[in-house]
Symmetry: C2
Subunit: 195 residues, 2 copies
C-alpha cells in the first residue's frame, strides 16, 4: 500500500535493526485519514469473503480494526490484555508472549461476541514473531468460528511470524512488509514478491 509506505518513509524512526517506531501515526498518535485508507484497503482485499466480525487486540489494533469494520459493515472486537472487573469467567483466553517486553499476558474475549459460524478477519498493527496473532487464532478456534484471514498493517518480513502463520495455510495480507531495517534504512519487500 503506497500511501502507508510513504508515511513510513516520512515518519518512521529506525531505532535498531529490529525496531521501527511509528508512534506518530499508528501506535500512540493516530493519523485518522491514513487509518481510514488502511480500513478501506483491508475491506477491499476481503470483501468477497463474507466476514461477519473483525477480531483485534488492544491497543494499537483498535484503530485499523474499527475502520475495516466500518467499511465492511461488521463489528470490531478487541481482545483485552488482562481481565477487567466487569468481565466474568465467561471468556475465551489465550497466553501471548511478548519477546520485546519479555512478558506473557493473558488475552481474553467474551463468549458473547464470538460464535460458531462467525467468519473472522483478524487485524493487528504489527506482525513480528506472530505471538499475538497465534493467541487470537487460538481464541477463534475455541469459539469454533471460522478464520478467514489475517490483515496486518506493518509486517516485519525479517522476523519469523509471517512465515509461521502462512505455513499453517492461513491467508495473511500485510499492507507493508519490511524487508530490512539494517543501516538505519527502511527497505520494503516488493509487492508480488514470493514469500
Amino acid at each position: 500500500m503506497k500511501q502507508l509506505q510513504e508515511k513510513i518513509m516520512q515518519e518512521g524512526k529506525v531505532l535498531s535493526d529490529q525496531v521501527l517506531k511509528v508512534d506518530s501515526f499508528l501506535n500512540h498518535q493516530i493519523d485518522p485519514p491514513l487509518m481510514k485508507a488502511v480500513g478501506e484497503e483491508f475491506a477491499e482485499r476481503f470483501k468477497e469473503d463474507g466476514i461477519t466480525k473483525i477480531l483485534s487486540i488492544e491497543s494499537s489494533g483498535i484503530a485499523p480494526a474499527m475502520m475495516t469494520g466500518l467499511v465492511l459493515g461488521v463489528p470490531a472486537i478487541f481482545a483485552r490484555k488482562r481481565k477487567s472487573l466487569t468481565m466474568s469467567d465467561h471468556l475465551f483466553t489465550a497466553d501471548v508472549h511478548s519477546f520485546t517486553k519479555n512478558e506473557t499476558n493473558e488475552i481474553s474475549v467474551s463468549k458473547d461476541f464470538l460464535k460458531k459460524g462467525d467468519k473472522i478477519l483478524v487485524i493487528d498493527d504489527f506482525l513480528a514473531n506472530g505471538q499475538a496473532v497465534l493467541g487470537l487464532l487460538d481464541i477463534v478456534e475455541q469459539a469454533e468460528a471460522e478464520l478467514v484471514g489475517v490483515g496486518i498493517v506493518i509486517e516485519k518480513g525479517f522476523q519469523p511470524g509471517g512465515t509461521m502463520i502462512r505455513e499453517k495455510g492461513i491467508r495473511v495480507e500485510s499492507l507493508a512488509i519490511l524487508e530490512s531495517l539494517e543501516d538505519g534504512k527502511v527497505e520494503f519487500r516488493e509487492e508480488g514478491t514470493s514469500l
Copy 2:
C-alpha cells in the same frame, strides 16, 4: 444523543447501582457506525473551537477519539497506561487512580505530540470519578497546551467526576448522562437540564 441513548437501552447491562456494562458496542466489541456518529457529534459540538489535537487514553477512548479526529481533520493521541520499551523518558506523565480496580496507573504521552499552542479536545468513553480526565488535563497543562473542552461518551451523572471537572470552569460535553442505575433501570438526565 438519541442514537446512543437507544443503544444503551437496547444493549447496556446494569450490573449494579454503579456499573453499566456496554461491552457490546464501546468497551470490548465496537459498533463502528455508532462510533462514527459519536465522532460526528463531538466534531459538531466543537467545530468552532479551532481544535488541533484530540487527546484520549487507551483502550476504550481510542475509537471515539479517532472518529472525532477524522471529522475535525486533526490527529488523535492516546495516552499509554504504562511505558513501553520503544518510548523513552521524553514523556509527559500523570498518575491516574482507578476506584473500580483500586489501582494507580501512570499514564504517559510523548513530548513529540503535544506542543505549546495546541488546542486540545480530551475524549474518553466514560466519566465517573473523573480521575482519568484529571490525568489528561495534567498532561495538557505540562505541555503548556490549551484545553478547549472534554467530550465524554457516557457520563455517570450520579458520580462526582462531571461536577468536579465543570467546577474548574471546563466545558464538558457528554453524549449521554446517566441519572441513575437504581433498581436495574437506566435513567438518563434530560438534555438541557441544569447540572
